[in-house]
Amino acid sequence: MIQRMLYNGRVIWACMKKDIKSALTERVFTIISVFLPLNFLILLSLFVVSGGLAPTAVVMQDTGPYAQQFYNAMAHAHSFALQRDSASQAEQLITAGRIVAVVTIPPDFDARIQSNQPVQVNVKINNLNTDFTNDIRRAVPLSITTFYAKAFPNVVSITTSEHDFYQQDTGYIPYLTVSILVIALVMSGLLQAGTASAREWENATMKELMLSPASRWAIVIGKMLGSFALSLIAVVVVLAVLIFIIGVYPVHWGEVIGFTALTMLIFIAWGTLLGTLIKQSQAFIALAFGTALPLFFLSGAFGPISFNTQAIQVIAQIFPVYYAIVLQQHAFHNFTLNTYGLGTNILVLCAYALGLVILAAIVLRRSTVAN
């Protein structure tokens, strides 16, 4: 029994070393796959670098005090990145696609407001898609109510009295980059483990492994450990950038380390399983990259999944990415994104990890030399 264990330990160690050495012979690929998670972090962050503010030109045909107040109200509407321009400049910018809206404050704005007469503010919108367009359409009424609240507090009596759940707002970038971290872990794990497995089949070196007396699960664990070691470098780089450059400091450091390791384990197991099933590194890599984007959108990266449609809620909870995002958001920001509790989310991920490792070993056992 003890001899068997020692033998398996040697197999695991040997497979791990072999995979690391094999990866180091493909230096270009290994370097790219180490920096890949960082690339994902950078690229997906480009989605939100604008902070959701609509670049808008304001044409101030009236520069009186009420017009200025209206401009200030717009500036505080959490929706616009304002710049003052002339009408012709604004027209040029919106036509060239540099801005998305032009707001024109008419020349008689102050006079009409003072005499309590209706006044129209023209808003020209580059209505490319309804999501962005509606943000602008709603932001202007917000500016109007804010303007009246300051300029004529007795006239418009209905206001908003806001109470926030959390003491401070979390910017969109600090929130989203934590979700992107999870996808980066997914990519890193899948790529390292999947290509290592698929390569064994492509190069037919799997034959020697399968004909040896080594147990299948020892081979699988050895391969996974090799991928884990390589992924670790990528993960350290990503975490360093996220924490020290982007400036998202975790509330619970221990959770970050623990959940990161658990997530890596799951996707390394998943990559090993898929690589064994697909047996072609080219197809596997295309699939790994291609599924990362849909998974990112499907798994509550932008907010709690319960805010989404029922269909997405059901589908998201099938994949471990969702639970990993929930846990990392708790680790970094102390957010609670579902009602399962920390323990249950961790248990789910552990179950995935165990299940995938067992499945990978079973698939390998059922693969034959003829494959």
Binding site: V28, L128, F307
Partner: protein, 368 residues
């Protein structure tokens, strides 16, 4: 004596295309992700821009009920009417972003022109959701006042002019960048692997020892990668058409196909260049995919480039995919040829440059 170039091109074309078609796993791996991505976008489309909120109406007076109706009609929320206890439970179980409460004395206060706050408790997890609520509640309030017509105390009104003839839903809007991503990914990966494989498996030797002209070999390889990429792009466009998401009209079908062809040609040329330069499939795959994603995201991804910071807009101006997405948007959503000349020129020049690089790289590889 050299062989007939057309026969050589045809032979290389058939060979590479057959290899691509026979590799069903690769085919599925290339096609599945964009299709899954489109499906995810469609499934989640209903929720975009409409936050789930609980509405508690404590005032049964006319103004309170009117306000309640306005919130329902405003179509800015997905509303659940609830009691205070139910609303708190929904907030606690993260079923709603916010609880909006119309207080019991709302009608009284509005009639007396006293301060009448609508209470909003927000789960301010991130600024995206929070700002949606901060915009949407005042939007409903202004609609409440607008309903009073000329008696409304709010004299500032909005006159909206849209640059585009129609609004496009977010999931429809994201189909075109997805097609462009597919074209870039497929073109780069397929052609780079097809090129690199010849060196890796040493079949380039047989090709060079044959009477086939080198130009014919290169053209055959480019043509097969272009064809597979172009067909994939057309397939997704047709799928969008069948689903009613992307429906070009009349001549704009031709424009759309032209743009797809140009993007496919450009990505194929780049892929051949990379494959012939690196001559190993594994690194070529990784680099191709990275390059494809970088080009895609720097061209604005599925977002609106005008929303991005100026530095990113300036970078996007140098990325050919920006022009591809723009031309497709104009043709498919607006049946317009706005700046089509510019877009076609940029894409054509880039396709020619990419093909030139591809040819040079293959020639150097062959020579070495």
């Amino acid at each position: 004596m050299s062989s007939n170039p057309m026969r050589t091109i045809w032979a290389i074309f058939k060979k590479d295309l057959s290899i691509w078609l026979l590799n069903k796993r690769n085919l599925a791996a290339t096609l599945a992700p964009p299709l899954v991505f489109l499906l995810v976008q469609a499934l989640g489309a209903v929720a975009v821009g409409r936050s789930p909120v609980a509405l508690v109406t404590l005032d049964q007076g006319p103004k309170g009920l009117q306000m309640q109706q306005i919130f329902h009609q405003a179509d800015v929320f997905r509303i659940t009417d609830a009691t205070p206890t139910q609303a708190q439970q929904l907030l606690k179980t993260i079923q709603v972003v916010a609880v909006i409460t119309i207080p019991a004395d709302f009608t009284q206060r509005v009639d007396a022109h006293a301060n009448s706050p609508v209470n909003v408790t927000v789960n301010n997890l991130n600024l995206d959701f929070t700002n949606d609520i901060r915009r949407s509640v005042p939007d409903a309030i202004t609609q409440f006042y607008q309903a009073q017509g000329s008696a409304s105390p709010i004299k500032v009104t909005l006159s909206e002019q849209d640059l585009r003839s129609r609004d496009v839903q977010l999931f429809q809007y994201s189909v075109l960048p997805t097609i462009v991503l597919l074209l870039t990914l497929s073109g780069l990966v397929t052609s780079s692997i097809a090129a690199a494989r010849e060196w890796e498996t040493r079949t380039i030797k047989e090709m060079l020892l044959s009477p086939a002209g080198r130009a014919s070999i290169i053209i055959g390889k480019v043509l097969s990668a272009f064809t597979s990429t172009f067909l994939l792009g057309v397939l997704v466009l047709l799928l969008g058409y069948v689903l009613g998401w992307t429906q070009p009209e009349g001549i704009y079908w031709l424009v759309s196909l032209l743009i797809i062809a140009l993007v496919a040609l450009m990505s194929t040329g780049l892929g051949v260049a990379m494959g012939a330069a690196l001559q190993r499939t594994q690194p070529v795959i990784a680099i191709s995919i990275n390059v494809a994603f970088y080009l895609f995201f720097l061209a604005g991804g599925i977002g609106v480039i005008a929303f991005e910071p100026i530095w990113l807009q300036n970078i996007a101006a140098f990325i050919p995919l920006t022009y591809g997405v723009h031309a497709l948007e104009q043709a498919i959503f607006y049946s317009a040829s706005d700046l089509l000349g510019r877009d076609v020129l940029v894409l054509s020049v880039c396709a020619l440059v990419a093909l030139g690089l591809g040819v040079l790289s293959m020639r150097r590889g062959i020579a070495s």
